[in-house]
């Protein structure tokens, strides 16, 4: 498999009231063609900011984003276009992601017309119908003249997917793409996305706060867990869920309630050392998780930022978890 995207030491800072906060700190990873990678974390962990940088909506403060072997800021002409159209994003907010003044037809037709993907109005119509069918909005004629507000959340999100597909992308970023969709229809939306991924060989970056959803969607892919701007663990999905290495991942997994009374009531919850969530403005020194970490092992955690190191097929940024492997390598 060829690599489609690589992040190298990606960092993004913001100025907030004359103070600098690091929303994303030194994130490096690589995504292959046709792969699914989930980024999971709580609000403020930097997962959305990472997505926006990959989508080219936010420039990184430092670090590099490499798309198909080329750094994206150096791209010109046809290469730039290939990247720009190649990476598309599905937003979370199903009410804000479609322009309320346009019909579904116009929303999907606009990129086709602009980029000349359809030679005539007749060809545009044909393609719009095809795309609506691809995202399981059938029959397409029921949707063409509708406005976004006349559709349900799930249907709107399908229109967003169809719109992204107009430009034949190779990389889709789905930022909490189903979290505003009703529970009873989430799975079918995810199934549609999986189907498209397979059919078109898309790579998908799936950003979510819901680990169970990540596990379901990225079962054959990988999951990366972020905490306060840093990637703390990256592993194949089933491995991360069954055998988490980082204490933060372990705490998260133990904290999530399950939709099964017996399982959820028997679950052991790992207690944190402190409930306080550190502010991005005053990040703890060393490992940012150390004030809350149940596996805290002493000064090294307070002083040294742990690097992402290999451990049993996963990548983990924890002094305890990688102590032995780092000694041997």
């Amino acid at each position: 498999m060829a690599e489609i995207l690589r992040l190298e030491h990606l960092t993004r800072t913001f100025q907030v009231k004359r103070q600098t906060i690091k929303a994303v700190d030194d994130v490096s990873l690589s995504i292959q063609e046709g792969e699914i990678l989930c980024l999971v974390g709580e609000s403020g962990c930097g997962k959305t900011t990472t997505g926006k940088m990959i989508a080219g909506l936010l420039p990184p403060s430092t670090g590099r984003i490499i798309f198909r072997g080329k750094e994206i800021t150096t791209l010109r002409g046809i290469d730039r276009k290939q990247y720009r159209l190649g990476v598309q994003m599905i937003h979370q907010d199903v009410y804000a992601s479609l322009n309320p003044v346009h019909t579904i037809y116009d929303i999907i037709a606009a990129p086709l017309r602009h980029h000349g993907f359809a030679s005539s109005e007749a060809a545009t119509q044909k393609r719009v119908r095809e795309l609506l069918e691809t995202v399981d909005l059938t029959p397409p004629d029921d949707f063409l003249d509708k406005y976004p507000h006349q559709l349900s959340g799930g249907q709107r999100q399908r229109v967003s997917v169809a719109r992204a597909l107009t430009v034949n992308p190779s990389f889709i970023i789905a930022d909490e793409a189903v979290s505003m969709v009703d529970v009873s229809i989430r799975i079918s939306l995810l199934k549609t996305m999986s189907k498209l991924k397979e059919a078109m060989g898309l790579s998908v970056l799936f950003i979510t706060h819901d680990l169970a959803l990540a596990k379901y969607f990225a079962w054959e892919g990988r999951i990366g867990v972020m905490y306060l701007g840093r990637l703390v663990e990256l592993a194949p999905a089933h491995q991360l869920v069954e055998n988490p290495q980082h204490p933060y991942t372990q705490v998260l997994l133990s904290a999530i309630p399950e939709a099964d009374p017996e399982v959820t009531r028997r679950k052991k919850h790992i207690q944190l050392r402190s409930m306080d969530i550190p502010s991005l403005l005053r990040l703890p020194s060393g490992c940012a998780f150390h004030p809350r970490c149940p596996a805290f092992i002493g000064p090294v955690c307070e002083q040294v930022v742990p690097e992402l190191r290999p451990k049993d097929g996963a990548m983990v940024a924890c002094h305890l978890a990688t102590r032995h492997s780092s000694l041997t390598t």
């Binding site: 909506l57 994003m89 005539s120």
Partner: protein
């Protein structure tokens, strides 16, 4: 060629749809038709009913009658005919001011929002200072310095005073719209800045812009008639402001029979404004699909 035809048919379909939507709102339709009538009467009316050249001593200060629908003035001239002849300047200045002030307001406001940074801060600081200056006294003083013989100069002057508040509102609208997800989506689809502004941003601001423009127009009517009433703008031609001023000076306040001479131009102003405002209110429904009950 095919593209051009496609675009034209689309535009035509849009126009028809807009008109259909407008026709569904009774007040809006009334406003639209009334505005059209006033414009037509003001420009075509004087050709059919030219102003009376001489005084008519027998008919001074008459009330309403079959012969004089709105009575007569101190010279015995027909009030209705004077109202028809006095509309042209008012209507011209109102529309011209509305268009000019809106144009500057939208351009400067969106420019400020798009460029951002220190340019934005500077522009908005200027706008804020501008907004604290009392407009009418300034207008009155300027009007005595600048020769205001024609409606175009007067419109420019009023527009120059009126654009800043709109600019500030447009700026905040653009700033909030710019962050919408669908604008981000359009950026990722590489639809081009011009296209994004014209077909993604502007349509969402259209009702707001149109309503602001009509607001400025009604404001311009007041300012203009006030200037004429105070005698600051010369009596170059007959208009509704002149009529009110003349009626007042000729003792309407003391002569009950002459009441119609002041009610006629006032009524014209009120009717024009009412037409504009009811038209504006219906525009929200035309531009915002969410407010339409069915399409």
């Amino acid at each position: 060629m095919q593209r051009l035809i496609d675009t034209l048919t689309r535009t035509w379909r849009e126009t028809v749809k807009t008109f259909k939507l407008l026709s569904r709102n009774k007040m809006g339709m009334f406003g639209f038709l009334m505005t059209l009538t006033i414009i037509l009467l003001s420009f075509v009316g004087p050709i059919i009913w030219p102003p009376e050249q001489s005084a008519n001593v027998a008919d001074i200060n008459q009330g309403i009658s079959a012969k004089h629908w709105l009575g007569t003035d101190f010279q015995g001239q027909d009030n209705l005919r004077k109202v028809i002849n006095g509309g042209k300047d008012i209507v011209t200045v109102a529309f011209l001011t509305g268009v000019l002030a809106t144009f500057f307001g939208v351009i400067i406001g969106s420019f400020s929002a798009f460029v951002g940074g220190s340019v934005d801060s500077l522009l908005m600081e200027l706008v804020n200072i501008w907004l604290t200056i009392p407009k009418f006294p300034l207008l009155a003083v300027t009007a005595t310095v600048v020769k205001l013989n024609d409606p175009v100069t007067l419109s420019l002057l009023i527009a120059f005073l009126d654009w800043p508040s709109l600019a500030r509102q447009v700026r905040s609208q653009v700033l909030s719209l710019k962050k919408r997800d669908y604008i981000e989506a359009a950026t990722m689809l590489d639809l081009g800045t011009r296209n994004i502004i014209l077909s993604e941003l502007l349509p969402n601001m259209m009702s707001f812009i149109m309503i602001s423009m009509i607001g400025i127009m009604t404001f311009a009517i007041y300012q203009q008639t006030s200037l004429v009433f105070l005698g600051i703008v010369p009596y170059s031609s007959a208009n509704w402001g002149v009529m009110i001023s003349a009626a007042e000076r000729r003792g309407v306040l003391f002569n009950q029979q002459a009441m119609w001479s002041i009610l006629a131009p006032m009524g014209a102003i009120v009717l024009f404004q009412l037409a504009l405002v009811s038209f504006a209110r219906s525009l929200d429904e035309v531009f915002n699909p969410r407010l339409r009950t069915t399409v």
